[in-house]
Assembly symmetry: C2
Amino acid sequence: MTDTTETQGISREELRLAARNHGMPLEALRYDLTPAGLHYLLIHYDIPAVDPDPWRLSVEGHVRSPMELSLDDLRSRPTTTQAVTLECAGNGRTMIEPHVVSQPWVLEAVGNAEWTGTPLRGVLEEAGIDQGAVEVAFKGLDRGVEGEQEQSYERSLPFDDAMRSEVLLAFEMNGRPLLPQHGFPLRLVVPGWYGMASVKWVSRISVLTEPFAGYQNVHSYRLRSDPEEEGEPLNRIRPRSLLVPPGIPEFQSRSRIVDAGTHTVLGRAWSGFGPIERVEFSDDDGRTWWDADLGEPPANEYAWRGWTFEWHASSGEWVLCCRATDATGATQANEPAWNVGGYTNNAIQRVSTLVR
Amino acid sequence: MTDTTETQGISREELRLAARNHGMPLEALRYDLTPAGLHYLLIHYDIPAVDPDPWRLSVEGHVRSPMELSLDDLRSRPTTTQAVTLECAGNGRTMIEPHVVSQPWVLEAVGNAEWTGTPLRGVLEEAGIDQGAVEVAFKGLDRGVEGEQEQSYERSLPFDDAMRSEVLLAFEMNGRPLLPQHGFPLRLVVPGWYGMASVKWVSRISVLTEPFAGYQNVHSYRLRSDPEEEGEPLNRIRPRSLLVPPGIPEFQSRSRIVDAGTHTVLGRAWSGFGPIERVEFSDDDGRTWWDADLGEPPANEYAWRGWTFEWHASSGEWVLCCRATDATGATQANEPAWNVGGYTNNAIQRVSTLVR
């Protein structure tokens, strides 16, 4: 190993996180719906063991009629099913310099699943919201210590975002009951937002008249350019596209070997700010860009969109890249920008490829 | 980060492997059958996309009647279902000093699933084995470059091992068709052996009259104390026990915080050499050992066995360990021994725990 490789590596502590938290191998971008076990997972503490029979969802705080709902109560409410792309706010963190210590994601912290559940809005309306509600906090059953504070994982949404019709209390993923690691028996799914908002193992919903002061809102998951700065809580997913690395891999380096000729490169693109309107492809490390062919718009606005590019591969060394642009005109930079938590890095993917 | 932490870390290349290959978070030891998506995964190249309709299993080489079997052909044969604990031969690799560069497993490369399939033996018998068969090689559809050799993943079993009645050609895992990442449509399952033998995405079975000279037998997955040495191909799983870290974790370090009092510590133990006969527990880093209570023997000999220990936790810092002994008397060392590939390290687990 060279010194350069060493300095780009990770510590023993970060390795322990990487050993627990799963990425989606990028060839799984070929599946429109990510199969069980390939969707990314970021679990702050431990996967809790939840007995669904005594489990109840408590809806409380600034509501007229606090409620305790069983899983059967939730299943008997109106349900919807929608495909949603979730991505960790820390995806791409290990590309950021100087190095930020936390879960050491490369680019695999993403997945697209079909979630079935009941809209949160209906539950809140039934509980009866009075004037003055500003946020809604969601508490999970996973518990640990972070930033020297013992806590259950808990994060809030601004009230108006909680009332968006597509925000779900989900009890199924890809047509099956939630797997333990995805939040069984119930999780929040906030389409278009980074995964930290989609609280797993939800046990309590609290309607608040003041902004939530919990760790995951106030200390973690904020965008700050300086540790002393207050910053802003993270919310929507910045545009990103990823491609299935073509050809075959070298086991250890994961670099690619491709036969000369025409190859259909395929990938997916998504944004929490608006529909994907353009994807470009480059084989020369982002110096030259060509428009890729967009697939049909997804049935759901917050699911990823497929794209392909007919790549004429000639012998030599190439660096394949792709770049998405959404309806707001937002796109992806060539290089990541540093921030305190190593969040929202949507710089372009680079795939070193040898064409023979 | 201290210098010590840095030197125990991993390189950028190893991180890319860690981002793809999934471990089983150790709290999932609580499940006798590992749920979908929590079983460990080690995939040398890419997960192949296999269309099951044209797919055929070819049985060839030193047989009287070469065969081409469809998935329906295999499903219509006699089937059995058995729980099998699979573990990667490289599990525990990152505890070994000096550091061995490859997939950087901590301790999570394990899982216990129920596999349904048809015994390999019946297929070989139907193909008709002549005198002189010494090995059977299994070729997967996953393809890549390793050790500068382009190859499909392929590994062999000695003929007598291939004829063991419990070796399966499996098409279901936990009662469902194989997931893509576990070898859909068909994988070999070799109970009692490290995972490298259980070839995924099997497309060809070759009966050989000479030992198989492929990379995964001759170069990789061998036990050697010196790179120049020929060594021995890896086979059966050495005894190991692991425990569910009690209490709650600190997010980044994964160290544990436990309230003083009595706790039921639980874990699993397994060995490919014989049934587990004893599990011991220590809270003082392996200086003092107590016998744990073994659960019922597993219905299948090659599934893990549960155990519990009533731990009286008093305030202070403790290092929890467990140690399994199998029917051959083989047990676990306190410290790992180095070997070229970083394989078969079954040294005891250590869980730093603060009791408050």
